[in-house]
Every structure is written in structure tokens, then in C-alpha cells.
């Protein structure tokens, strides 16, 4: 089985600050990490390889520095990796990102399964996974918490829902996004780290993945971010006074008035 895991390098949110003037993220000097949800996707891919055999390829679209994220994850036991990088990708929204990644997956060829994280902790849209599936016209399942079985071109899995889980059967090839309940990611091994250090990571540009320039980067991104702001923090607390009984009555009537429950 040929598995591709899409991973994204994101700023370490623990350190992210917002520029109060421009209301944008201050990215300078902020350390980059692998999107935490993608760690679960990589772990699951390696476990699938251990269960069913095959190979695991990592894929990211990003600037040249994103190579560091690929190397970090290669040390966990993925076989190889591809970096898709081109100046024309700058300013991609989820539509352009999904298209670009889908084109890279086409170029990789013979892929049975694509794994993504549930969402990226910076963009947070959770749209890239389904977007890739749409571009490839493949099956899709979000929020996967367990892969029960793969066989005869069909995958049985559990999808986490607010009120329990769904049991699904989807045909391969498919794209899935995973939640952190699916596994506990392993730590790297020294042999893995040494191998990862030496591996060649090919870089593919827009032309090499055969992409339509109109659908890339800013020109392929209909999303316009007109303004970013931090919602004003308003908290009007009131501490009720008086007899306990009167307080409870006030509380109940306030709850009814505000329609909270």
C-alpha cells in the first residue's frame, strides 16, 4: 500500500504574538513546529505500513525551511519525502493549497491513501483534507479515530462525532483526516534520525507538478482577507447580593432572560 501523509509546518503557537499595529502574526523569530495533528497522521501511516506493508511518503507545500519538518518526521520511520515549493505558491488559501497538494499527489502516482491532520493550528480551517479529496475525486472521511480494517480496496473506519462515532466503509483510494484519539505518536529512534539526516528530499516546483498557474498562489485564491482583529474582550460580571433565596430567583430569571439554557 502506498500512503502519502500531508504535513504542515506551523509557528509554535505557544510563542505566537500578534503585532498590535497591523494585527498580523509576528512570525519572525518564532520557532516552527510540525502541526501537532499531523504527528498523529504520520504515526497512523507508519502503523498501517507495519500492519499491511507498503511505503509511507511525506508531502508538504511550503518554503524551503519546511524541509526541517520533513526531516523531523522522517526519523519516525517514513520512507521518503517531497517538498513542493515555488514562489508562485505564496498567498495560497485553502482552495489553492488543496489543488497544489492534489497535483503533487497525482505526480507521486499509484497512491492508495492520503492522511492529513484534522486541522492546522495556524490556519485552523480543516478544509485542506477534503479539498484534496475533491480535487482527486476520491473518497473522503474526516475526524477518523480508528482504522479497523483495510482489504479488497475498502477501508473500515470509525469517525469521531460529538455524540459518539460513525462506522464507515469507504473505497480506496481515499483521503482521511485524523484526530488525536487515533494513536499515541512514537518518539524518533537514533537510527531513524541518522537515516533522516542523510536522505535526499526532492523539491518540486509548480511546473514539475504540472499545475495550472492560474490556480496557484494569490491568483488561485479567491479568499480575500480584508481585516484581522482581536475581538474586544468584554466581561460584565455581576455578583448577586442578598438572601440566598432571592439570589437564586434572580439567577434563574437572568438565565431565562439571556436564553442561555
Amino acid at each position: 500500500m502506498k500512503i502519502v501523509v500531508c504535513i504542515k509546518q506551523v509557528p509554535d503557537v505557544a510563542d505566537v504574538r500578534i503585532d498590535p499595529e497591523t494585527n498580523t502574526l509576528i512570525r519572525e523569530g518564532v520557532p516552527s513546529i510540525v502541526n501537532p495533528f499531523d504527528m498523529y497522521a504520520v504515526e497512523e501511516a507508519i502503523r498501517l505500513k507495519e500492519r499491511f506493508g507498503g511505503e509511507v511518503k511525506l508531502l508538504t507545500m511550503g518554503p524551503p525551511q519546511a524541509e526541517a519538518a520533513l526531516r523531523e518526521l522522517l526519523s519516525l520511520g517514513a520512507d521518503d519525502a517531497v517538498l513542493v515549493s515555488d514562489r508562485t505558491f505564496a498567498g495560497s488559501d485553502t482552495l489553492a493549497t488543496s489543488y497544489t497538494l492534489a497535483m503533487a499527489i497525482r505526480k507521486i502516482g499509484d497512491v492508495d491513501l492520503v492522511l492529513c491532520g484534522k486541522q492546522a493550528i495556524d490556519g485552523d480551517t480543516a478544509q485542506v483534507g477534503p479539498g484534496i479529496a475533491e480535487n482527486l475525486h476520491w473518497g473522503f472521511a474526516a475526524y477518523v479515530r480508528k482504522i479497523e480494517e483495510i482489504g479488497d480496496g475498502v477501508m473500515r473506519l470509525e469517525r469521531l462525532m460529538d455524540d459518539g462515532y460513525d462506522l464507515l466503509r469507504i473505497p480506496l483510494p481515499a483521503v482521511i483526516t485524523v484526530v488525536k484519539e487515533i494513536n499515541e505518536p512514537r518518539l524518533p529512534s537514533l537510527k531513524g534520525k541518522m537515516k533522516a539526516k542523510k536522505l535526499e528530499i526532492p523539491v518540486w516546483n509548480a511546473e514539475e507538478i504540472g499545475a495550472d498557474p492560474e490556480r496557484l498562489g494569490l491568483s488561485g485564491s479567491p479568499t480575500k482577507v480584508s481585516k484581522i482583529f482581536t475581538p474586544e474582550f468584554r466581561r460584565k460580571g455581576e455578583i448577586l447580593q442578598g438572601e440566598a433565596e432571592a439570589q437564586v430567583d434572580r439567577l434563574v430569571s437572568e438565565i431565562e432572560r439571556l436564553n442561555i439554557v
Binding site: R186, L187, K191
Partner: protein
């Protein structure tokens, strides 16, 4: 301080630190409280290739030396030395095979130890033979193709948990120390049993048990080296592994400094952080200086030993002595810096100070280290009548 470690050594350091941070620190207090063996952490260390750091690649190891092993032990010890001794004692049990094993013995046992699939242990000490290891009473009598072992080893780290044991026993009592021999034993051999787990002051998550031999019959091919070589095997093994105990000391001391320094900056008394008091600063300054000195001696000693010198008993003893005395002092001072809070189990320095004491006792007490250093020194100066500087 930058010790100009190689890229590979930095990789080992960072991964060991990650394991300490993510897998050891969250559970160390609970393991200590419950006196629970750290099996899961040993599995993580095995999966990360740590058990084979000093074992040659042809036997499944990483092909490094004592320095690589000590870098890992140091980082683990920042978090918990009960965990790091469990890890390091496997190396202690392995060295006799690595140093004196036949090709067949190495092929059979080293890959299992290097992969971490099997833990190893080393059995020398007995109820009546501690510092005076020459007094051991366990016997091994040759019987055809076998040896039959009888006796009891005491306080053996990883006893009962390890699969592979290297044990020293007397094959010829009439020859005294020259009548001892070293053997490889495996858990499950007939007549090989374990005593109860000891209750200890510190390193409570580590397993310390008796090894009991009752007409324990082992194949004669499990003899290491030759009959009569037992004490040489034991002494050379301890020489090789003593820097590992020093690495425990350096890591533990650093862990205590980290706790005390963070605390001193946040604890307010008399309207300011206690870290602003010169008395506290001076204590922290001494702790840091002594620990850095111990680390420098450790790395220098490891590099020296990895260059395969003929004799390194003195150097190994010096680093064990200095780093572990430092750890005892630094952990005691860390408790002092933190006052009553430091004495409470909620804070890790309480355990660190309890744990530190063992470092001055096992693998040769620090008095015995001074004996070794003194003896070597006297040898070096034998016949010298003038103090003329050379080289």
C-alpha cells in the same frame, strides 16, 4: 558550556533529553512513590536505540563509546536516576561480555542487549562481600560440560527484571582472588531464583534483588574468559562503567540546579525574590561551578577512555568520586535553597536528595575510589626522588 560534541552526540543528547522530558518527568514521582519498575520507559529507550550506544554495529549497536553512553545517562539523570540506573546497569551487565566474551558469546548476547529486548545485570556483591569483593562465597564447581553454582548475590540492580546476568563466583577457593571466575547466566535457568525486592531510601523505582543459586547448572561454554579471571573481569568492567555513575551525578546535580534556580526567582520573601539575596546567589553559583567542573571532568575522562588507553583505573575512579560527591552536595543545597518546600514531596528536589546518596555507595564506595586513586598515585611516583616537571 559548549563541549564541541559531534552532530551524532548532539542527536543522542537531544533525543535522551526529549525522552526525559516527555516520558520520565511526568511519571517519576509516581514510580518513586509506588516503587514501580519503569518498564514502559525501558521500552521507549529500546525503541529509540539507546541501549546499543556503546556496542559495536556488528552486534546490533550504534558503534559509539563511553562518551555516547554517558551523554544519554546524563540527560536521563536530570529527570530521574532510578530510571537511569536501570538503563545503565544493563551496560554494567553487558561489559564483561563485550570485553571478554568469545565471538560466539558476543553474537548470542550482545544483539539482545543492544536492541533493549533484554536487560542485563551484573552480580558481584554478596552479604559478606561488599567493598571486599575478594570475600565472595558463591561457588562454581565444574561437572563435565557444566558448572554448578551455589550461593547468594545481594543488592543486584535489575535483579529479576533482567534476562541476562554476568556473575562472579569462586572456582578455586584455595587461590583467593585468583580463584574467581565470571559466568553468563540467563533468567529461567534451573536453580536460579530471585529474592524479594529491597525497600530503599532512594532510586525506589529501580529493582534491587538477591540472586539465589541452588545447584544451578549452567553450560560450561557460559564461562567468560578463563577460570581465575573473574576479578580481572569484574575490575575492568567497573573501570568501564564508573563514568556512567559519574554521568548520573552530573545529570542529577543539573536537574537539582534547574529546580532550585527556577524556584529562587519566584519565591518572594522580604519583598523580593530570594534569588536577589546574595546568600542564595552564592549557593547557586557554587552548585553551578561544581557541576560544570564535574561535567568537564566527565567528558574529558570519557574521551580519554574511548581512545583505548592501557590503564584508566585512576581516571575512572576520580570522575566517579568527584561527580557523585558533587551530586550529593548540590542536591542537598537545592533543598536548602528551597527551604521547607524543598523538603516536601510535592517538589522534586526531595527525591533528588534521597536518590543522590546511592551514587556515593554503589559501583565502589567513594572511600574505595580514593583507595584506588591513592594506590595508582603511589605506583606512579614509585622510584621518583625529584619533582622534575616533564611534558
Amino acid at each position: 558550556m559548549d563541549y564541541f560534541l559531534t552532530e551524532e552526540q548532539l542527536m543522542i543528547r537531544d533525543l535522551a533529553a526529549q525522552i526525559a522530558r516527555e516520558k520520565v518527568i511526568p511519571v517519576r514521582a509516581e514510580l518513586d512513590e509506588k516503587e514501580e519498575f519503569p518498564s514502559e520507559i525501558m521500552k521507549v529507550l529500546a525503541d529509540s536505540d539507546m541501549f546499543g550506544l556503546y556496542i559495536p554495529e556488528e552486534y546490533g549497536g550504534m558503534g559509539g563509546g563511553i562518551l555516547e553512553n554517558c551523554i544519554a545517562i546524563e540527560q536521563l539523570s536530570r529527570a530521574c536516576i532510578a530510571v537511569s540506573v536501570t538503563f545503565a546497569a544493563s551496560g554494567l551487565g553487558c561489559y564483561p561480555i563485550l570485553l571478554y566474551g568469545t565471538e560466539e558469546q558476543k553474537k548470542k548476547y550482545l544483539p539482545r542487549i543492544a536492541s533493549g529486548k533484554s536487560l542485563a545485570a551484573f552480580g558481584l556483591t554478596e552479604p559478606n562481600a561488599g567493598s571486599d569483593a575478594g570475600g565472595i562465597q558463591t561457588t562454581a564447581v565444574k561437572d563435565g560440560d557444566s558448572y554448578i553454582l551455589n550461593g547468594t548475590k545481594q543488592w543486584i540492580t535489575n535483579g529479576g527484571e533482567a534476562d541476562i546476568y554476568t556473575v562472579i563466583a569462586m572456582t578455586d577457593r584455595s587461590r583467593g582472588a585468583r580463584g574467581a571466575s565470571a559466568f553468563i547466566l540467563e533468567k529461567g535457568m534451573e536453580g536460579f531464583k530471585f529474592g524479594k525486592k529491597e525497600k530503599k531510601m532512594g532510586i525506589r523505582a529501580s529493582a534491587t534483588r538477591e540472586l539465589i543459586f541452588e545447584d544451578c547448572r549452567i553450560p560450561a561454554r557460559n564461562l567468560l574468559s578463563r577460570e581465575g579471571m573473574g576479578f580481572i573481569v569484574a575490575m575492568k568492567t567497573l573501570d568501564k562503567s564508573r563514568p556512567g555513575i559519574a554521568a548520573q551525578g552530573v545529570g542529577l546535580a543539573q536537574g537539582a540546579i534547574d529546580e532550585a534556580a527556577v524556584y529562587a526567582k519566584t519565591r518572594i520573601q522580604f519583598g523580593k525574590p530570594i534569588a536577589a539575596q546574595q546568600a542564595i546567589q552564592h549557593m547557586l553559583a557554587d552548585m553551578t561551578t561544581q557541576t560544570e567542573a564535574a561535567r568537564s571532568l566527565l567528558y574529558a575522562t570519557c574521551k580519554f577512555m574511548d581512545s583505548n588507553p592501557k590503564n584508566f583505573s585512576k581516571e575512572a575512579a576520580m570522575v566517579k568520586l568527584f561527580a557523585t560527591d558533587t551530586a550529593m552536595k548540590v542536591t542537598t543545597d537545592a533543598v536548602q535553597v528551597m527551604g521547607g518546600y524543598g523538603y516536601m514531596r510535592e517538589y522534586p528536589v526531595e527525591k533528588m536528595m534521597r536518590d543522590a546518596k546511592i551514587l556515593q555507595i554503589y559501583e565502589g564506595t567513594n572511600q574505595i575510589q580514593r583507595n584506588v586513586i591513592g594506590l595508582e598515585l603511589v605506583k606512579e611516583y614509585t622510584g621518583k626522588t625529584e619533582a622534575v616537571p616533564v611534558g
